[in-house]
Symmetry: C2
Subunit: 294 residues, 2 copies
Amino acid sequence: VQRTIDWVDGSVVIIDQCALPGIYRTLRLDTVDELIDAIARLAVRGAPALGAAGALGVVLAARAGGAVSEEAARVAKARPTAVNLSWGVARALAKLPEGVDAVLAEALEMLRLLTHCNAGRLATVGWGTALGVLWHLRAGGFVDSVLVDETRPLLQGARLTAWELAEAGIPYRVLPDNAAAAAMSRGLVDCVLVGADRIAANGDVANKIGTYGLAIAARHHGIPFVVVAPQSTVDYSLPDGGSIVIEERSPVEVTHLAGVAIAPPGADAFNPAFDVTPASLVTALITETGPHPA
Amino acid sequence: VQRTIDWVDGSVVIIDQCALPGIYRTLRLDTVDELIDAIARLAVRGAPALGAAGALGVVLAARAGGAVSEEAARVAKARPTAVNLSWGVARALAKLPEGVDAVLAEALEMLRLLTHCNAGRLATVGWGTALGVLWHLRAGGFVDSVLVDETRPLLQGARLTAWELAEAGIPYRVLPDNAAAAAMSRGLVDCVLVGADRIAANGDVANKIGTYGLAIAARHHGIPFVVVAPQSTVDYSLPDGGSIVIEERSPVEVTHLAGVAIAPPGADAFNPAFDVTPASLVTALITETGPHPA
């Protein structure tokens, strides 16, 4: 099975998530610049995959020689909100005094971890850990079907989550993000399951834009709102969600789709990649070690 | 100024709202079938414009001869939720005993009404009446800028509302629908302004999908949620929102965009065109006769 991100013959190899679901292909990344570009374009994305990407970025930098710390810092900053990226960089960088092979060993260790919590093909990208839980619930007979928010602007739900569910044979329907509250009011939703990109010490959750609105709507309807994330996503250095830096992305992601303008020429956009859901709206936070004390 | 819908030399002429904002063009509709097709494709849309479309449909049927009542019934059913469509049909049909000219006079009367509450170019289509209020607030110096929900799946906000605001020189930003709650939590929203497609006797509001989620989020943040609609949108025959029929549209609107597949082949979708916001979440309902007693 092709991993979402892997180390093959001295290169980083990723599944190109920008091309899915139309085209399934892998990309070979040989330089730090190529890796940073892939991270920025979201060709590789999702909390656990970004941890591995960060570590492998340090490997690429170390093998190229030069100013490894500076190169590692550039990788860590490629996206500001996802804590796993800088976590992966820091973990690999700590091995640099022991030599390049030790850095590589550390990065490969993270790839193995990644496979541990990966029950599907892309299951540790973005909604990945949440989908991992979903596979288990489905195997236990608890899941009839899944409503997949399309997740504008980059449509990770419609393109990637739907693709994974289709591969796994789990019935699903895609819906516009703005139809989620209507689905809840019709009794179509028993539980909302999301991932996380960074979690503050008090349990506030930064995740893909739209998560906060879902949490408010779930609370309004008395529906459990469950966050699933690796333990490494909890950033104990941040007291609460107010101190989480939110990545603002290009207006073009909103104003254009598949190269076609969907807004008037010169239209500006409000395009935060993430929002923050306060711990008070989270019913449960599940990590690989079990429920997290919120 | 080109009207959103008009009667010119024996034909219905509409601004093709499917082509905006990329292409600005008008369409000439000479038959009931052409009109129904334009309504179904949303080439003409929005509560007040649909009222006029319904009336003009009766004119087309009456001039063609044949079974006018049956043809009128087909027009009225072209979209099930928008009450103005069947209201316009019924109002024009009531004049049929007086002859075709009386039907036409009634339809033209509705066009004039339409112009009354139309302060912008497309201002009485969809969010139109809400935008009419916006022009007035802007003229009074009360509006700095507007956040425009893109309004998936058909992007009426990004394509049409943004186009109108750009024409009017009002600063705006387009946002993914799922970013609205984040904008509220950042203090960027002072008031939510929406239109309505049908309002039940108790004040429950059926409007474009996503309205309900906005209302829940507005309530959560203590932000006023204001509905603006023509009096004709209130359907006193319906006790509450539970009896409003909600139009389900093709999954293709969700799974494809600008002809490009954005979900895996065979993906199904949940695609209600409208949702129902309970009166309890509506801060105020404004019609052309002033605040409506909810």
